[in-house]
């Protein structure tokens, strides 16, 4: 990226009201606790939640149009110009900020690939000094930061990527090539297919974007974040190796961490800004927006379209709703805002660089295109299943092939607007944008556009609806396509739509207008049958991924004197899921961190 380039102005995102359906067509999830003799499913209320995560199990809350207008300002935040003096940050505010950032930023089910070390004003000065001496920094490094978050990231590794180790080998050679690839993955952090590597960057971009909003919301508008990514990627990272190493030492990154692939992904400076830079909103409204952000999650089910046969009736009833065109326009605007913000390219140019193909049934030949995609993904799955080495599959009771077949569920292309998105690597690099940074910006663009749909989905939300619009961002179809590209000579899903480009598809958006929220069992929370229907939260607690440096000591956040966090962030808003009788899930509401500790100044 050109260091002298400055992000062009982002366009304000406008509120789009989604008309609710007639009262007789409205439905809600209305999950109830299973009776004593009933089998618990993902559609019933879980019996308990035992989690250190600040998120909990929440429902969306109605935002007024005025609140939504303020919230949309969060979709075009500009970098702060300067930091001014302000009060020391209290522990509670830091917790709220981390809750909206690294602790809840969209991540795949079981990829705990981010860590954060938060530094106080003195260490922030040391980091700022290093940043100023680095090359390729995309924006001004600001002094007077109240805190600095150093975010570390490691390669994307989950049970899915373990399965990938066995894919794409020749029958006899697999005895040697599988161990060789496993070694290469472990030691050199090589990826089986390129999009797995891109997933790490997509997640970083999503977190960087969330971190900007988190600082604003947690401080009720008083603080902003200045997130700097460019000096930590590609050629810039090589040039800045000495300074990066110094920051790594400051945050205690060990040799063992490095061997596991942990590296600095970006640095976020936060500080107080003058009134003219602040978004003005009442403290209560900030809390409601924060609580809502923690309630948003991927919506996979389109009632009446792709619900399971065993799902309750409210999921089976097709709803007469459509995603308004204005909503997709605003979602696109937010996406371009994010891409412009994080790459610095001209706004109009960003529309060329972001490759989007709409593939839903409402487009001409949409049904046929969807069928083609499903067939293509199905063919890849079949070839994966037949190609898995028997010597690995049989001893595990065919667990590998069963899991490969199960992956089909991840390709649920249901929604009234479906887009496949991607980038052309050559074009991105010719633009002077590091490819990793481009992928991060793409992730941020996807997440920000998703947030538009989610926020508008609660504007003037009637009491008898869970939501009015939702979205699901999926990498599954793209990964499957990439397996086809890498091992079976297939072409990218975007090739037909962009024949004169060399596209790499990265994510799929499915936008839905509906009033019933998905059941639990989404990618973040699972019912654990072994624990008799208790809710298992796969999201991390603060002590798992956030460390705070005070003096020379780096200690896990909210792990103190034998206690660990049980607080749900923004719990005062009270948007915890209950059954229709108002009975809550034991453990879901959480318990606030001790008063005396919450109000301590962190630095």
């Amino acid at each position: 990226m050109n260091a002298s380039r400055r992000p062009s102005a982002q366009k304000p995102v406008e509120v789009v009201r989604i008309p609710p359906p007639p009262a007789e067509q409205r439905a809600q999830r209305n999950a109830v606790f299973a009776g004593e003799s009933e089998r618990r499913t993902r559609y019933s209320m879980p019996v308990a939640l035992d989690s250190h995560s600040p998120v909990g199990y929440r429902h969306r809350i109605r935002l007024s149009e005025a609140e939504a207008r303020a919230a949309t300002a969060l979709l075009s935040i500009e970098r702060p110009h300067r930091f001014i003096d302000g009060p020391a940050i209290e522990e509670q505010e830091l917790f709220d900020e981390c809750s909206l950032g690294v602790l809840s930023s969209r991540q795949s089910t079981n990829y705990m690939g981010h860590r954060q070390v938060s530094l106080g004003p003195e260490d922030s000065m040391l980091v700022a000094d290093r940043l100023k001496r680095m090359s390729g920094v995309e924006a001004d490094v600001l002094g007077n930061a109240a805190s600095t978050h150093v975010v570390l990231s490691k390669p994307y590794r989950t049970p899915f990527t373990m399965l990938l180790t066995f894919i794409g080998h020749k029958p006899w050679k697999s005895l040697g090539t599988v161990p060789a690839r496993a070694w290469d993955k472990k030691v050199n952090h090589a990826d089986d297919i390129p999009t797995i590597g891109y997933l790490q960057q997509l997640h970083i971009g999503i977190l960087a974007d969330a971190m900007e909003r988190a600082a604003v919301i947690a401080s009720s508008g008083a603080r902003k974040a200045n997130v700097l990514q460019a000096p930590f990627v590609g050629a810039a990272a090589e040039a800045n190796a000495e300074h990066i190493r110094a920051i790594e030492d400051l945050v205690g990154l060990s040799a063992a961490d490095r061997r596991k692939g942990w590296r600095i992904a970006f640095v976020g400076q936060t500080g107080y800004v003058g009134e003219h830079e602040q978004i003005q909103l009442s403290p209560e409204s900030w809390r409601r927006i924060g609580a809502n952000l923690l309630a948003f999650r991927s919506e996979r089910i389109q009632p009446g379209v792709n619900a399971e046969a065993k799902a309750p009736p409210q999921y089976q009833q097709r709803q007469d709703m459509d995603v308004p065109d204005e909503l997709t326009v605003m979602a696109g605007r937010a996406a371009y805002n994010a891409f412009v913000h994080w790459t610095g390219v001209d706004r109009e140019r960003s529309k060329d660089l972001l490759l989007l193909e709409r593939v839903d049934v409402l487009t001409p030949n949409g049904r046929e295109r969807l069928r083609q995609i499903r067939e293509h993904l199905g063919e890849v799955t079949e070839r994966v299943i037949t190609g898995i080495p028997l010597w690995a599959d049989l001893p595990t009771g065919r667990a590998l092939t069963r899991n490969a077949a199960r992956g089909k569920k991840a390709f649920a292309l249901a929604g009234q607007r479906i887009y496949i998105g991607g980038l052309d690597r050559g074009e991105i690099e010719r633009e002077g944008i590091d490819w990793s940074l481009g992928v991060r910006a793409f992730g941020a663009a996807a997440a920000r556009s998703a947030l538009v749909a989610e926020l508008m989905g609660v504007v003037d939300l009637p009491e008898d609806c869970d939501l009015l619009a939702g979205i699901c961002l999926m990498a599954g179809p793209v990964n499957q396509n990439d397996i086809g590209k890498a091992f079976y000579g297939m072409k990218d899903m975007l090739c037909d739509a962009f024949p004169d480009r060399d596209p790499t598809s990265l994510l799929v958006w499915t936008l839905k207008a509906k009033t019933v929220a998905d059941p639990i069992g989404n990618e973040e929370q699972l019912l654990n049958a072994k624990r008799k229907g208790a809710l298992v939260d796969l999201r991390p607690g603060p002590h798992d991924v956030v460390a705070v440096k005070q003096g020379d000591a780096i200690a896990p956040m909210r792990h103190r004197e034998g206690r660990r966090n049980a607080e749900r962030a923004f719990a005062d808003v009270g948007n915890f899921v209950t059954d229709p009788d108002g009975r809550g899930i034991p453990g879901n509401r959480g318990s606030s961190w001790p008063e005396a500790w919450r109000h301590e100044r962190v630095w």
Partner: protein, 311 residues
């Protein structure tokens, strides 16, 4: 409590003819010696119509043990605010209670006693470095269907002022002769009611009984290991009731005032180790309530209330 076959509460103080026995200690008496007496003493039982003897155990000066207090805080979750956790004086009085229960003149055997109820009133916050005076005594007893329930009272003084008072209700179980099956109460509805202010999952590790036993001095075998607990009729070892109570109050944190407050707790079912529990706090016009249950809410381990003012 006046069920069929039960007598009324017999207060020791109501019988001036009762001879008072007063034991004064200069240091906390040994709990191990009390265990030895508990194991080998033969007790006559309570003679009908005769009140319990007034056995008083006093420790006029107890200096703070900050190391033990630190450990106690770690185990129970109380924060270090420079004041004693409201349940800590009960731990300090533990050795005096053991002395009373194993005193040769105490008529009931100490083995198998069950802690039924605990009431604590704190009149003022107690600094952690304060020297305290402790006095405990048997206050009275009552025959119930399950056996004999008696009360131990504890006063904690700072200087000349009583700053903390505790009432411990203990059941001495008599062998059950009832053959009829008691009907099981209907299980509570799943989930938790409205008005919840806190709902925290708590994991109790297998070694909590041993760890708490070391700091409290209560090394009753039923708390230590599954094997030692089986010798006393438990299927697994159980955590101390006072740990459960303290853990709940620590969880309630600033919802519990530190002065002029009374906390009452009824212990319902033992907590087997290891366990997963849920502590739920509720608020109403009368104060704050708390309950410790199994995750599915089917088993209630204890129920308590926090009210302002002394009772």
């Amino acid at each position: 409590m006046n069920e069929s076959g039960s007598g009324g509460y017999v207060a020791v103080d109501a019988h001036p003819e009762v001879h008072s026995i007063r034991e004064v200690y200069t240091a906390p008496p040994s709990m191990m010696a009390a265990y030895r007496r508990a194991l080998f003493a033969r007790k006559p039982g309570l003679i009908p119509g005769v009140p319990m003897p007034r056995i008083v155990a006093a420790l006029p000066r107890l200096d703070p043990d900050l190391d033990a207090l630190r450990t106690y805080r770690r185990l129970t979750g109380f924060t270090d605010d420079g004041m004693l956790p409201i349940t800590w004086p009960q731990v300090l009085a533990g050795s005096l209670h053991a002395e009373i229960l194993t005193h040769p003149r105490f008529p009931l055997g100490a083995m198998g006693l069950v802690h039924m109820h605990q009431s604590i009133t704190q009149h003022a916050p107690i600094p952690e470095d304060a020297a305290l005076g402790l006095e405990a005594w048997v206050a009275g007893h009552e025959k119930t269907r399950r056996g004999i329930e008696f009360e131990l009272r504890t006063d904690v003084r700072r200087g000349e002022y009583v700053v903390w008072q505790g009432t411990t209700r203990i059941l001495w179980r008599r062998a059950s002769k009832s053959s009829g099956k008691r009907s099981k109460p209907a299980p509570p509805p799943p989930g938790e009611p409205a008005g919840v202010i806190r709902s925290a999952a708590i994991r109790v590790p297998e070694n909590m009984g041993r760890r708490y036993g070391r700091v409290s001095g209560d090394l009753n075998p039923i708390h230590l290991t599954a094997v030692s607990a089986r010798l006393f009729g438990f299927r697994r070892h159980i955590v101390h009731g006072m740990w459960s109570m303290a853990r709940c109050i620590a969880e309630l944190d600033d919802d519990v005032p530190t002065d002029g407050v009374t906390i009452t707790t009824d212990f319902k079912r033992p907590v087997f180790l290891p366990s997963r529990l849920v502590c739920v706090g509720t608020r109403d016009e009368e104060g704050v309530g708390f309950v410790l249950t199994s995750p599915n809410g089917r088993t209630t381990h204890l129920e308590g209330r926090v009210t302002l003012g002394a009772r």
